[in-house]
Amino acid sequence: MKKVLVALIIVAMMLCIAPSAFAADDMYTVRMVYWPGPESDAMDVVLNYWNENKAEEAGFYVEQELFGRDNIMLKEEALMAAKSSDVDLFFTASRWLGKYWMHMEPLQPYLDNPEINIYGADTEGRIPATVDGFRWLDGTLYGVPMDLSNHFLYYRSDLIDELLSNEEWQATYKKIAMEQLGKELEPKDPADWTWDDYLAASFFFTKAYNPDSPTEYGNFTHGKVMGPTAFLWTNCYWSFGGDWFDADGNVAFDNDAARQALAVWKTSFEKGLTPESSVNGEFAEDNEAMIAGQCAMTVHWNAGYATIDAEDSPVHGKIKVCAPPAGPEGHFAYNHTLGVGISKYSEHKEEAARWAAWLYTDEAAKLYAEAGGIAPSKAVLEEMSDQFPVYGYMVDVLNDCGKNLPPTAGIIEDMACGLLADAWNGVIDFDTALSQLQAEATEEMSYWQ
């Protein structure tokens, strides 16, 4: 009896979860690989709008194919290797273009063809740097920048305000700065910080150095072995005058700028200015630590703002952002763009191109931005900064000091993050890490010329 009952439950369950049949239609459906999460949620809105209002005029529907963050590129590479016509548009990031441009179709000729580009869209509406992010070194345009990301210095404005007005705190701050960094430093507005100020403030807001600190730790430093961690460090590297590639496009890591920037990162980990487990921390861990009120500041992605400063967040209204601290060369704020490009193996390139052209319009950018995506159109971002203040900050910071990595950065991203993480965690020393990185990255680049 019991067995029958269980069997019945199973059958009933199967029936409940059995899928309903999909409706078929004659019109072609353009398939685009996209990244799941806020980006795809925003894209869903755009796609629905397209399929309801635009599809008939254009002659086709569009749908997105999703895959989780860690393996999406592996799946795309499989599609590329198979020359599969299953998808019409590939997803890519500006820094990965150097790996994938050879599997993608130049876009400009389609944009220039009024029969395909029936919307008269052009690239002018987008922030120029983001469009350039989708050009290969020879200037050929391969995609549509859809989603912009950048780095900020986040700080607890309530704590910094207190520091800037409370004399007792200021005295302690100077004392700690002298003890720990051997420098005379005054509390300053974070927008004017150098990395020394950043470290001094980090010491000040770490309980181990200042028992009166309202937060347990001064900062949250991302340490996990993954490309984006290395990008966060790159803000610091740039400000000391370094870059991933020199003017001739050669790998350039074995230099003093890298040592100085690594020293900043290592200080945070070694002195315990950042939570102990942040050596394996990234975006999500940073959000949790900031929301929990454990850290006073962090160099972090713009995408964190919506969560950390959300209405019901315990630190709502106490979070401000500005450009990452400065080095001798000034402030730099890393940014990159996610987007889509036409597959070279698509059998419906013209449809894909018409869709890509429409994506370049402000109409599409606005729909996307309203749904929570960060469309890199200056007009749209500025217009919407009342609703989403962070859009306004992004425009400001990127105008002042935005910088991106070249399309070849993705090729050496993994070895950079691995060796840099080893260096700032003290697994190996700076000299070994940097010379090894220099040698390995140079060799790797030779396979991609």
Binding site: A81, K224, E276, V279, N280, E285, E288, A421, D422, N425
Partner: protein, 286 residues
């Protein structure tokens, strides 16, 4: 005798056909690719480079380090999990109310993909907000379970929760086959429960015991998804298992020639000891 041979071959036929149909081509393709410089930019037209991928692999000091890490990890995890799994299976030889449900619940940690569970563990072991981290902080004195000091024990613990049920279910089902008469005879001889386990039960199920041991050793040695999700091999290369080394060295660089070379090299390194263990088992005292 000849007929017997034919029957033996016929029984193997379905599996053989399946392997040839679905595994042979990928393996040959992979073997060939391992002799080429084949990255995603030239996958159409790879260049033949002989054994260079293998040479590069073995001259990389990180490869040796990650092999060593995996070996240590495999030995520790396997010992812990075999002992626990056998003891729990032994406990389950008694009858008690709700046994079916209890068996299911013991197996439950396995039903979540390690990749997903590892990702959830990032939250559950989180230093600021992780429920498990807080529960354990009484024992560890810190909630920074993914920090340098605790990351190895944490991963071992996570893997034990995730994979120990594998040992349990094999041992449990094998113990069901141990004839009651043997155990009763041992009781007559005055053996206590633990002695019966060591002297009667385990020798009777020695083959499945050996196979489980081997499988567990390999599973832990080749661990990938759980660690990848939790630490990606970090801090730095501190918890870089050999599978993670290969993933990072080859896939994140879109270097398919190296990916194949590393995979085959690893398989060959492991094949000899594994086959030895299986053979020792299958050609035992029977």
């Amino acid at each position: 005798m000849k007929k017997k041979k034919i029957v033996g071959i016929l029984l193997l036929l379905p599996l053989t056909i399946w392997l040839v149909a679905f595994a042979l081509y990928p393996i040959l393709y992979g073997l060939r690719l391992s002799l080429f410089n084949a990255r995603i930019n030239n996958i159409d037209n790879p260049t033949f480079i002989g054994l260079q991928n293998y040479v590069k692999l073995f001259s990389n000091s990180e490869f040796g380090q990650s092999l060593l890490w995996s070996l240590k990890f495999a030995v520790i995890c396997t010992l812990i999990q075999m002992v626990l799994g056998i003891l729990i299976a032994w406990l389950f030889q008694r009858s008690f109310p709700g046994k079916g449900l209890a068996t299911t619940l013991i197996l439950m940690p396995m039903v979540v993909a390690p990749f997903l569970m590892g990702t959830m563990f990032r939250l559950l072991f989180n230093e600021s907000v992780g429920p498990i981290a807080y529960l354990l902080s009484g024992l560890t004195g810190t909630t920074a379970l993914l920090g340098m000091a605790w990351v190895n024990p944490t991963i071992i613990g996570a893997d034990t929760i995730n994979r120990m049920p594998f040992v349990f279910i094999n041992m449990y089902s094998a113990m069901q086959g141990v004839p009651q008469e043997l155990l009763e005879a041992a009781t007559m001889d005055g053996a206590n429960a633990f002695q019966k386990l060591i002297h009667v039960t385990i020798p009777t199920i020695s083959s499945i015991f050996g196979i489980t041991f081997l499988e567990k050793l390999l599973q832990s040695f080749l661990i990938f998804e759980l660690i990848f999700a939790m630490t990606a091999g970090g801090p730095g290369t501190f918890t870089q298992s050999v599978s993670i080394f290969i993933y990072r060295r080859a896939f994140q660089r879109s270097d398919y020639g190296m990916a194949c070379a590393a995979s085959f090299a690893l398989a060959l390194i492991l094949l000899v000891p594994s086959l030895y263990l299986v053979r020792r088992n299958t050609k035992g005292d029977k």
